[in-house]
Symmetry: D2
Subunit: 341 residues, 4 copies
Amino acid sequence: MRIGMLTGGGDCPGLNAVIRAVVRKGAGMHGHEFVGFRDGWRGPLENLTMPLGIPDVRGILPRGGTILGSSRTNPFGVDGGVERVTENLHKLGVDALIAIGGEDTLGVATKLHERGVNVVGVPKTIDNDLNATDYTFGFDTAVNIATEAIDRLHTTAESHHRALIVEVMGRHAGWIALHAGMAGGANVILIPEFPFSIERVCAYVESRFQAHYAPIIVVAEGALPDGGDTSILEKGVDAFGHVRLGGIGEWLANEIESRTGKEARTTVLGHIQRGGTPTAYDRVLATRFGLAAMDSVTERAWGTMVALQGTDIVRVPLSAATAELKLVTPERYAEVEVFFG
Amino acid sequence: MRIGMLTGGGDCPGLNAVIRAVVRKGAGMHGHEFVGFRDGWRGPLENLTMPLGIPDVRGILPRGGTILGSSRTNPFGVDGGVERVTENLHKLGVDALIAIGGEDTLGVATKLHERGVNVVGVPKTIDNDLNATDYTFGFDTAVNIATEAIDRLHTTAESHHRALIVEVMGRHAGWIALHAGMAGGANVILIPEFPFSIERVCAYVESRFQAHYAPIIVVAEGALPDGGDTSILEKGVDAFGHVRLGGIGEWLANEIESRTGKEARTTVLGHIQRGGTPTAYDRVLATRFGLAAMDSVTERAWGTMVALQGTDIVRVPLSAATAELKLVTPERYAEVEVFFG
Amino acid sequence: MRIGMLTGGGDCPGLNAVIRAVVRKGAGMHGHEFVGFRDGWRGPLENLTMPLGIPDVRGILPRGGTILGSSRTNPFGVDGGVERVTENLHKLGVDALIAIGGEDTLGVATKLHERGVNVVGVPKTIDNDLNATDYTFGFDTAVNIATEAIDRLHTTAESHHRALIVEVMGRHAGWIALHAGMAGGANVILIPEFPFSIERVCAYVESRFQAHYAPIIVVAEGALPDGGDTSILEKGVDAFGHVRLGGIGEWLANEIESRTGKEARTTVLGHIQRGGTPTAYDRVLATRFGLAAMDSVTERAWGTMVALQGTDIVRVPLSAATAELKLVTPERYAEVEVFFG
Amino acid sequence: MRIGMLTGGGDCPGLNAVIRAVVRKGAGMHGHEFVGFRDGWRGPLENLTMPLGIPDVRGILPRGGTILGSSRTNPFGVDGGVERVTENLHKLGVDALIAIGGEDTLGVATKLHERGVNVVGVPKTIDNDLNATDYTFGFDTAVNIATEAIDRLHTTAESHHRALIVEVMGRHAGWIALHAGMAGGANVILIPEFPFSIERVCAYVESRFQAHYAPIIVVAEGALPDGGDTSILEKGVDAFGHVRLGGIGEWLANEIESRTGKEARTTVLGHIQRGGTPTAYDRVLATRFGLAAMDSVTERAWGTMVALQGTDIVRVPLSAATAELKLVTPERYAEVEVFFG
């Protein structure tokens, strides 16, 4: 068999582990050939390929990023795009395609499958907001990086009597903030699922200072105050006409300073949450996803994607990738509220 | 309510996170009082207690070990031991007891519950070999430490054309070896569940050298060759009459050297696998276990212990702690065999 | 002898290691008593003290921050401040004072010494910009944290074809950027000592993309373009009237995007560079500084501070702490220019 | 110019950083050509070469090991070996040779230089026992790995009331034990330079237990008790006729157990100390050594090697590589004795 593979969307630790597992099982055990498509759907669209044999995946397991490159190109948004993709797959003699990516990437895969392309999917979202799977790879690495940052900030907060705010990823779902905040011992955790009261946050901050400690607040980038609108999250324009960083972390620091009179500082973790060597957990999960995706190809389970349920890797329909987001539940949020203040 | 708490058995990253969560919820939210028992069952047996309020659990979340101390003392092995334990609990006015530990510690808890003591349990096994729960805290930390060691050894192996063997924990179950070996890209993984053929291991070693790479072998301390008996794992006595390190890692290195003529070296990770700051995963799991154990007390669910199923914390009977071990299945072992050689 | 000790200025990994070494040698070997002053010079000014014996320094070696707290209070800026400090020292029976801090803290120490107070100093600057010493503690930790962040960003840059900018500490001296950039394999390093040409930076960025790689740029927070003035580094005010993050990293990303048409993203490392557990290098240096400062007290070498020269800890006049800054030399900058582009 | 390069002796984090810096400066700035010799002196002896241009050194800066491979081959120990080396260098048109290695590798380089070969050297010893240079690369990484292991063991020691022994590298010089022990807060540090009294060690162990803490002992592999001979360090032979691990760490554990009646356990760090990604310190030092070695070639400073003095990279005669070892001085050892017990 001749199998194509591509990675789309944002960076996520574990992508290379998936690629390696697919190739080691597909080429090493079954003798299949692989075609690597570069830069997500741009690869089959513009016929950008690279060799993808066992030597090409050597040593990539602990490496972040993706050797295939990535992009947000969507062939359905390009005139005649779908036809070019299917034509290119046909010309290259590709019998099956493994698409690794998030909502957008697997949304394209779903539509191509409906048009008869033999596709299987591997879900990827660093935000862990996919209902069909207990966890996605990359999430554990992001949580560990954020936790380590919170660990480091504790001592600074205490030594300087300052409120410190850590803004982490999570535009729609607060999983990274929830887990990193719980693991890091944050005093307040703010997430998109539950609009917060700035008065209550300031009350926590003050009670904490009164107890002679300094508060650490973890905030997901998509969290909003009660009644606040998303313009708060938009980037400002400065006196030089340049777009500047801003966001909810900055907003919070300003509010806390003006309402409590205490110093507050924000750290925005940004891209360092999604790069670099994956944790062991993510390498194992990504490797198992890769092996199972290869099995899906062997068993011609087209239109499915792999998922984690408990400790098992299972198959679910590809369409699950674009279903409703998995959000933090009130029960899970109540767990961390025990530690607030 | 007045609640006693103890930790028993071997060290495990996350114990302090459990203790902190119990106290933060029990004392902070419900206003209960706590009695800390020192050194496992020795605490209630010999009336060794320590204060255990919110100030005592401050800052312990990221710390390894247990502030309560631990031991392997079993009151059922001591003449009149059980009576002294129940009497001491009574004298101290302890209404409920939270026991955190493995098979032995929770075995005692089970028997005490049968005699009418109000006990709830929190399972702890760094080996992850408990059937009732998907994962136990401490395991993820151990796997990460072992994986980092394997990562480091790869470059040495390659630069020196040597077979390198890493011996990890796992006397009865090979979960640490399985996960760390998969995450670290080991070329062979040997575990207690599947006796290995030393000829086949040497064949892998040689094929790897022929491909101009150097093999990394991960072996669980309890793995055995086909037909081998456990005397291989026993400690030798040297010319000075001293007990010396030995074990399956050393045995393997010697066999590989004598059978293939290639240099082989063993690293025994030992105690560094079970100490130090827990990973974010283990801190979250341990914290959730602690919160849920406190709920079990509130709801008087005596004789139960907490467990992880999927992403949920559930309750199972305490007796599950001493049920059959969770072993690596042939299916899970087949996953890593894809990467052998 | 009765010895006071205080820590002033910004957070710096290694402060606790200094405190511990002083107390272990002073109290443990020589039997001296210690008075801990809280929050820098605010301590002796407002008579804020804490116990500082051997039990108080137990376990603090690997911890970031300072158990004594810190502040930027300057008694010379307070009416009657100096008199209150000397009076409080006298009332507490303090025979000698060990001041640990940067330019400001040791500037106060110098003046107090001139007024007859028995002071010795321990220099502290995470920026490593003190001429009298080869290195200061905290610097190595900051460089490692920044290097790890750069390592993580490499894979994201490559996978997404983006220019990534890392803004690190260094308002006046570029040592952190220089070392972290060299260690992380940055493609361009911009520091305050050498105004940069934005055209040249963009040319590097473009040549890098043409070679199918993505550039990583490390910039010290105090770096400026040729002819640029410091208003670029000032914080902007957004539409909400709030001060917002900005700085040279943001400025660079905007310039690169508008001049090259390539995506550029900035990560500002901020406070995570100065918190958390110190590296082994910093723990050793800080411990040796503490031991030597205690020797300075024993030998009544008032008005001196400790410093590292080669592998030796030496004594230099306290006034050296406020001498001209140690800046990156053209020779050192030429070393990293080899790797630009 | 056509420049050969080789790496010899044991693995050491930073070797690849040296190689990369040489090639980036030599090929990138000066346009020289490089010949990579494989596996130390075996390369020029057996004419084993590999391409060594800028693409070959891409991405190797953070990687442990050496892309050139290594061995302990000594052409002076091979019949006609020297002649074959010089003949092969001549045939390949090699104008200059850069040798990176320790005492043995640079000893060969020194003799070849005496016979007219244009050689410059880069010193490498993870043990940091070279008099001519303040530090060597790899040492800082080894110290950090050992320190992290000690950090992890503290909590286990305390929780289980056990003496824990960490055996680190250092056959002749105790630098790794000294620095890691100081950084990790060890209670006793034993090194080859100062024979120890086992009675005194046991007294420290007992006083520590009496204070309700558990001792951590760091021992260099070459440390010996007073009057002890090196047979203690030799490997034992077990009942199976196999050579087994042993060494001073095991010996100590046995002595402590039998003399104090307390449990003692040994962890031998072994190869994980010398593998894996280098610290920022080592990457900077190794890079600066590489750049300076390239300058030595350009300036035809044959027969020299690079060294660190203070913060400067200097040149010293190649013969310095085989001069007397740099040992831990009584003054440096007295520093850590403050913390014993």
